[in-house]
Subunit: 331 residues, 2 copies
């Protein structure tokens, strides 16, 4: 079986361009003893992947050049040489950026698609949703009646965080880039939303949207958003530092105004986190998510592109803000 | 009884100068029913007082202009009209910046001077020591065998934090301004010490002093120190944000390089704190401090000036780095 796959050709310094990616093709053999052959149906693109394109080890190894990239993927077993898997079974793996693969069955997660669509295991019911959950529950420790600012509110994690915060009984102010996205944030439940591109005083705009400031801040953006958050947070405010997409493609550092004394004066709590350090919360996440979805409080939100050849543009689109909700590629 | 007292004449914008202070004099009446009259013997000057000179409410009200300033003070009861106090008793109050006062007995803390010198209740055995303790124990959660960077290591809180960290079994790298202070940090137990004034790459210097980085950072300085700390901390490193003296006198903001993605990539934990929110730790502090002092692991470290007229220069000296250990004024 032939499988097309995406290779990284070089480590980009700034924003990745189409030249950094190349479509290759591989032969996928029949599964050996204990293996299964899987045809991917849905592939994930995520901002964290930018870190693996830097050639520098952070919390995860960089992608190898000239080899298939990796990422979340949901597919169906095509042929199986492992007693635990039968053709047609849905499985999730990190063997993304490719159309098909053969792998030992034991590394694959079999999916129950009774209540959750296969692709949502890459989004709201997968690491994306879990990231929003960990940030709100453990880092911010958000309580009913409190207020929270969700940055990049129209994005994958942000749109989950808005819905989860509302389900938890909090008041939500969202920020996003552009009037369409602001409307989108409101449509999925944000009590108020601010277009950061149309204000030159983000802190003031967020404060106006939620009088008196906020108890929590979900950091997906960094840079000017971070600076504004230190102003907007109330005393004993908490920041979940999940990502800083504004900076992932910056080759040089943009200096920031130093308003760090707010951290001391307001006794702020800031917690950077990687979702994989918090898998002990998986059971509580699945329980809450199931209840929220059953009650109609949370709905999967995806932007879908089609075809393996569109993986690079889907990925690059994360940084130009093409997606609302989770960006997925359907094969 | 006459008492000289220091008034603030105006809210300074940048560094306070002698013109911002004025010596006044007040008549202190005989104590009424339930009151005591106290002659102060030791007065405290602390960096946090700069915040009360800004005219802006932070976590505490600003000083009133043309009235005696406030701060930690230790004195002896001169005459008492309260059954709980007798002449000669040592008491602590916030009625500092003055030679004497009359006040209800119920607001005063009577001091046991059997094992602790009266003035040390303003330093290592008071809020200064408690601040170091809360930062290390609760915010950094420092463990034996870990490494910690103490900034402003020759200062009041820093010199306590160095000694406490060593008593807790940690490895200490200290930073301070000038070779004398670096020597001082070593003399009180720091395993290594760096003069931040003689390096143009603080992060590299601290990393060299403690190979592989540090588990904790005690933030007393801010600005360039903060930036370096985000580089030097190991994954899951913790910052206790206690103060940022580098910024207290800045009228304008110095921009900082944006290296905040370290917070996410290394899952850093940052906790700003005000000691008064953590008085639940008082008992454990007193217990540990007593044991450490009895074992000779911790020694009070003070710099002493004399006379009420030298209060402004003692205070201003905190920002030019005149003190090692706790700055006190003896009356």
């Amino acid at each position: 079986m032939k499988s097309r796959e995406v290779h990284l050709t070089a480590y980009p310094k700034g924003e990745p361009t189409p030249e950094h990616f190349k479509l290759g093709e591989a032969d996928i053999p029949e599964p050996a003893e204990g293996e299964v052959r899987v045809v991917n149906k849905w592939l994930s693109v995520d901002p964290y992947m930018r870190g693996r394109m830097s050639g520098i080890r952070t919390y995860i190894d960089p992608f190898a050049l000239g080899a298939p990239m990796e990422g979340g993927a949901v597919g169906q077993v095509e042929s199986s040489n492992h007693e635990g898997f039968a053709p047609g079974d849905w499985v999730m793996s990190m063997n993304g950026w490719r159309e098909a693969y053969v792998a030992p069955g034991q590394g694959l997660q079999k999916l129950d698609t009774t209540h959750i669509a296969p692709e949502d295991y890459l989004g709201i019911a997968g690491l994306t949703g879990m990231t929003a959950y960990v940030g709100l529950k453990r880092c911010i420790d958000l309580q009913a009646g409190e207020s929270v600012w969700i940055s990049a509110g129209a994005g994958a994690v942000g749109s989950a965080a808005i819905q989860f915060s509302k389900a938890m009984g909090a008041k939500v102010v969202a920020t996003a880039g552009g009037q369409d996205k602001v409307e989108y944030c409101r449509s999925i439940g944000a009590d108020s939303a601010v277009d950061y591109k149309s204000t030159d005083n983000l802190a003031k705009a967020v404060k106006q949207a939620n009088e008196g400031g906020v108890d929590g801040y979900f950091e997906n953006v960094g840079g000017t958003h971070w600076t504004a958050a230190l102003e907007v947070l109330k005393p004993k405010g908490r920041i979940a530092a999940c990502g800083m997409i504004q900076r992932y493609n910056d080759a040089g550092a943009q200096p920031l105004p130093d308003n760090l004394t707010n951290i001391v004066a307001k006794s702020l709590h800031i917690q950077g986190f990687i979702v994989s350090d918090h898998f002990d919360m998986l059971e509580s996440f699945i329980g809450d998510l199931g209840a929220w979805m059953a009650a109609g409080k949370v709905t999967p939100r995806n932007t879908v592109k089609e075809g393996i050849e569109n993986m690079p543009s889907a990925f690059m689109g994360l940084f130009s803000g093409e997606n609302t909700g989770k960006m997925l590629v359907k094969l």
